[in-house]
Each structure stands twice: as structure tokens, then as C-alpha cells.
Subunit: 247 residues, 2 copies
Amino acid sequence: MNNAMNPAEPADVLLQKLATLVVLEDDEKQAIRALPLTIRIFETRRDIVREGEVISECCVILDGFACRYMLLPNGRRQILSFDTRGDLPDLQGLHLKTMDHSVGTLSPVRAAFVSHRALSEIALRHPRITGAFWRNTLTDAAIFRVWIVGIGRRPALTRVAHLLCELRMRLDWVGLGRDGVYDLPITQTDLADALGLSTVHVNRVLQDLRRPNLILLHGSNLTIRDWPALQAVGEFSPIYLHLEQES
Amino acid sequence: MNNAMNPAEPADVLLQKLATLVVLEDDEKQAIRALPLTIRIFETRRDIVREGEVISECCVILDGFACRYMLLPNGRRQILSFDTRGDLPDLQGLHLKTMDHSVGTLSPVRAAFVSHRALSEIALRHPRITGAFWRNTLTDAAIFRVWIVGIGRRPALTRVAHLLCELRMRLDWVGLGRDGVYDLPITQTDLADALGLSTVHVNRVLQDLRRPNLILLHGSNLTIRDWPALQAVGEFSPIYLHLEQES
DNA sequence: CGAAGGCTTGATAGACCTCAAACACAGTGG
DNA sequence: CCACTGTGTTTGAGGTCTATCAAGCCTTCG
């Protein structure tokens, strides 16, 4: 039930994303293809949307890595999610107009934008598509919950391992990796900000995962060498990702 | 824009909840009132739904405090949300049938249950109600995000203060408190499990909030004595709760 | 080749945890 | 009415995981 193809076409990306959420009929697919998309390109470490802004369009990540994050008064950053091909980091803007967090890029990113107007229209006309969006919000929330558990109650080693497992599953799912080999253009500082750790500690923990040959990591190139062991260390079970279509 | 009344009627609770999310037309209200509800009562520290279960109905909290939580292999618990009157802790079950976390009670709880069938039906017939549910999921997710930030990047004192601020706003909103006085049937262990801290440390931090007279806390009775100061300590800003109806 | 950003390492410090015990309070029962 | 129990709160002491600070190193790239 994986999708092997490697779409570059904006509409295909969105279509595939929604198709992983619900079964789409032909007319629904057509409606999605007819959505007016604007493509925009961002360099590394740029903001796509900023906390406090009122938005009128949603973005779909086509290529590269983005993240949702919040900044604290003391300048510290907490990353809330990593977003790759097909992800909709600001879909919530459709209902909650003013952003309560920011969306930024971690690598060069190509993204497609759809106006809320067009989105509302298609959602109104096609309840199944509304369901897909809603379901997307639900899986988002499920991932947030698991992050809370990790940051709140798991030691650093487990936390890092768990995140790597999660990224593996999600990247596999959209066809951005295979056989445990992935391009992960994420710095150790980014990992630290996602995991609630310091960069130094993330570095040391990564070494603890490399030493017994669970993973291999040069720059942005991640290879998972021992998947079962990594899952065990990360106490990882993928059910919360809900990677099955609606029944 | 607060609701002063104190409903005990199950349908009223649900109606009020949805009314805080979107503006409801008369026929929508009628449809909600017509929903078949089953009332059930739970004692303190009981599970309402358990992780892994496949569910076919959703619950609405009517009275008392519930929480969503997850248990780790080593027995530790992480609380994911506190749920009070009007909250729908397992609404996600409507789309994601198998629970990826548990819902339990922190105090005696009275809850109403609606079948997924009835819920799907009403959602299909009334897009605005679907929107309300979806919006509920979105604000849920927004709260999760802020918890991630707190647990990941804020020191214990700030974390505790922030949570108290959040609870204050939410309880005010549903009319379960006034003038900073609340009944909070939550143990310090519960707080600790929500904040990713130890009970001992929560206890000490609470004293640090009591000493300068920011709060008053005897048993389940919380009084906020210095709201501005508490907000400042907690770095609290309520925008993420999105306590305004859809425009 | 120099600059910049990211990675790595060592030393020190601190926030928070764990363990253990005492205390407070409400409910129970004789 | 008063032990008795159970749960929750409080306090103290010691320990540890992770943070912070400060360099050095490595790779990339103009």
C-alpha cells in the first residue's frame, strides 16, 4: 500500500496526499486537479508564514523540508512538526485565520498555494474531501500527542530514536526514501529544537545510535542499519500515524 | 461573550459547545437536540476508553474532569489534555477508529455518548456542524502544540503557571468558575504527568507560586490572586485557544 | 584560501529526579 | 469518639541527566 511514484506535479502531490486519507471518486479527483495553485520557492531558513499573521491561503509542500515552530520570549525555539511532500502545515488557517505559530523552511522548499476561497468551495461541494482535510488534522494531532509523550516522559536516546523512526515511516509513505536510506536536510540544532534538547546532547545521543550501528549519518544522509533495534530503542509503534485509509 | 448559564442537560452542553465554535441556525440546533444520547457515570480514576480499542461512539463530558493520556512501557504516564464540560476527548474516533491513546477520569464524571452513525449522519446533512467538529479538532491541536512548547522549552515554574492560566481561561469560558475561583479536582501527580515533571517538583513549584501570593490552593480549590502576574510568569497569551467563533 | 556553518569534544554547572519519610486530612468502622 | 487506613501533600538529601560554555575541527563554497 505504498506509493512508489515520484510526482513533481503540484496537483499530483495534493491528489496523492488526499488519496492516502480517503478513497477519491473521479469527480473529486477532477475537482482537486482544477484547484488554482500558485507555486512559490523558498530558500533555506525562510519563513513561509509567521505567527500572528492572518492568512487567506494554504500551502502544500512539494519538495524540501519545512517545519512548524514557535519562538519563546527568551529566543528559544520549539519545532512542532517536520513537513515534507504533500504536507499541509497551515491547513488550520482555513478555520483559524490568525496563525498561532510559524511555518519555516529547513531546506530549499517548493510549495503550492491554494486560496481559502477555493478550498472552502471544494470542501463544501465534496464532503469526502472535507473528510480528508479533517482526517489530516486528526493525524496531525495524533503526532502532536506522541511528541508530547516523548518530550514529557522519554529520555533523550529514546526520543531521538523515536523521531528517526517516525521520519522513516513518513518518508517511506510518500516515496521519499527506500530501504532505510533517506535524505534528511535537518541540522542537529533542528533536531534539538524539535526534541526539547540541546544541540550538544543530540550530537552525543546520535553517536550512541551510530556506535552500535543502528544508524549511519553523514551530513544529510541517513541510513537506518538496524530497523528493529531502532524501533526498540525508540519504543516506536506506528499506529498513531494512522497510515491506512478511512474504512 | 461568555456563557453564564449552568446547563446540566446533556443536549444543552453539546449545543453550547458547538455554539462556541460556529454560529448555529435553528435547524442545526434542532438536529443536535435530536441526537440520541446515552448518559453514563464514572467514578474517579476509571477509563472511559482505552488505547487500542476500536470505538463506535463519541463521548461528551458533562460534569467532572477527564483526561487523555498515554502509558509508557516503563509505567510512566503522560497526560495529553484535561477535559471538562463540553469537551469531546475522543471525537477523533469518528475518523480514526482505533484509539491511539486512552481517556480516563480524574474525578467523578458524567458523560453523554453519541454513536458514530448518528454523528456522521448529522455531519453529512449539516456542513456547518462538520465545520464545528473540525474546528474543535483544530483548537485541540493548537493546545497540543502549546503543550509541546511548554514541555520542550519552558522551565518548570513557567510551565505550571501557564497550565493554570490555560485552565482558568477554559473553565471561565464554559462557566465553571468566576473571579479566578475554580474547583480543580486534579492531584499534583496529575499535574506532574501533564507537565512532564515529577510530583515532588510540582509541589515545590506550586509553593513558589503561592509564596508571592499569585495563587491560593487548598485541596481542589484554586484561587488566582494575581492574574496579571500569573500570566507574566507563565508567558501566557490566550490566542492559541481561539476562543472566538468562526468569522 | 578564507569564511561560515555545522559537527564534535571536554569541562562544569544546574534543573529536576529519585528515594524515603513525615505530615495532613477525609472517610471508615468499631 | 477515636483509632485506623488510604490518598494526597510536604520536606530533606543525594544523585543524574541534560544544559551551558568554550574550543577545536571539518566541510562547503564563493
